[in-house]
Symmetry: C2
Subunit: 305 residues, 2 copies
Amino acid sequence: MIIDNLIEKIKQTNNPTVVGLDPRLDYIPNCIKQNAYEKLGKTPSGAMEAFWQFNKAIIDATYDLIPAVKPQIAMYEQFGVEGIACYIKTIAYAKEMGLLVIGDIKRSDIASTAEAYANGHIGKVKIEENQFEIYREDFVTLNPYLGWDSIEPYLQHCKDFQKGLFILVKTSNPNSGQLQDLKVNGVKLYERVGELTEDWGTPFQGKYGYSSIGAVVGATHAKQAEDLRKKLPHTFFLVPGYGAQGATAEDLSVCFDKEGLGAIVNSSRGIIAAYKNKKYADFSDFAQASRQAVIDMRDDLNCVR
Amino acid sequence: MIIDNLIEKIKQTNNPTVVGLDPRLDYIPNCIKQNAYEKLGKTPSGAMEAFWQFNKAIIDATYDLIPAVKPQIAMYEQFGVEGIACYIKTIAYAKEMGLLVIGDIKRSDIASTAEAYANGHIGKVKIEENQFEIYREDFVTLNPYLGWDSIEPYLQHCKDFQKGLFILVKTSNPNSGQLQDLKVNGVKLYERVGELTEDWGTPFQGKYGYSSIGAVVGATHAKQAEDLRKKLPHTFFLVPGYGAQGATAEDLSVCFDKEGLGAIVNSSRGIIAAYKNKKYADFSDFAQASRQAVIDMRDDLNCVR
């Protein structure tokens, strides 16, 4: 089970941090951008060359300290063909460096459409007698609003290709409650989605008691996260919201179990743009600032788990 | 307002049909595939050359009869870089032929991530002083599970670039009720999403009384569609489920208003793979079979609206 690999990487690095590789042009140091623009122009190709050099430097400076990275596909997809090429190249490099990759794609579709996403992202696409692995994420995030029909097509791929999912249960954004907190049959909608996720994961439980079908649970809603941790004992949490979005290690301590497992915490801006933070102003190399930010986050999380 | 353009195209063609450009290799005639494979191999490039030739022929044979096409991005995205190139090329060609384009992307994300999707799909991406239009859909579909935060970043783009949205309200799949039909504060979840969609659309109402913020309402759930039509008088419906998914024109008659407006009905397989249907066996040209299928669907819908 891929969830066992994730847990073992967390144990080995003693770090439940996942680095969100969500570059923006204004996070990228000027020297990288200038080089890229000189080579390829201020074009999608140039911008994606800058993203790639930036991502590579962050991975090189942090891969030995972290279990996984989480590229957010939107940041790449917006640039079209060149963006998708950069997303795929980043995933390939992260895997080459021994990292697990969580593709933050939040797709939501059904039937043959869901199967197309599943084939491309975590399976293989068939072209006559040939098969191709395209994106190669280890896990992807999915939106459950369409129900079982939008999850089921991915499960055979999880089995066949040793992959995993994180289902959006309770997201970290301020208005996540607008639908997710509505009461349905005595429980809140996100609690119902949590129960379904726990059920869907039953055939995918690994040796540490967690399943490869995890849940996205925002750290910005600490009380809800605490309840979910109790109610979903086999569901591993992917926790956004730490740092830039306002949640502290204290807030998200409730996401961990008694062994300090059960959750992996994302930070994007706080790590990849650390060099812009006064705290890391002494670093002349932006990637070394990111490395220190990973160490600081690891130590911060390890105080509470 | 872009919704006015859509309504005018529906009036002009006397046809509330949108053709779903969701190719699969097994829908594509062998002669097209063989040509593409000979040129580019049984590879993603070859497969996407086949998709492109297929889409182009379908558009050429139907553009004068229909208001819009709806490419489903999953069918392209699964093939990676070449797939995205084909999706973009298909959109550009459809627009060149005077069609409106609904990008079926069902994205769901928040804040800067949602803005990235909005920039790429219905706005412009900025690279220093340069701006690029990347995907160029006129409308995109969105998933509302993350609430207002996942819709709001698109609205400024709708205003600035004359674009529109279709929010997933009640989807056509068999298990759509698993979450969407749960009762919340006395109404079903999908009804609440419908109310929100109607509200979100208020600033985007055009001259026919409909707003550019529409709703996806599956024709496979006729009673629910009928109720929604009454409750959401300013919300235009994008209706999947006709034909291959089982809904008849009779079922979806409830989606139209008294003037026969208020909805556009999607058919994918039923049109693009019409030549595989016994009914169209006499056509030697697959694209002419699709043309006849469009005419038959138009006439079928016009009997009930």
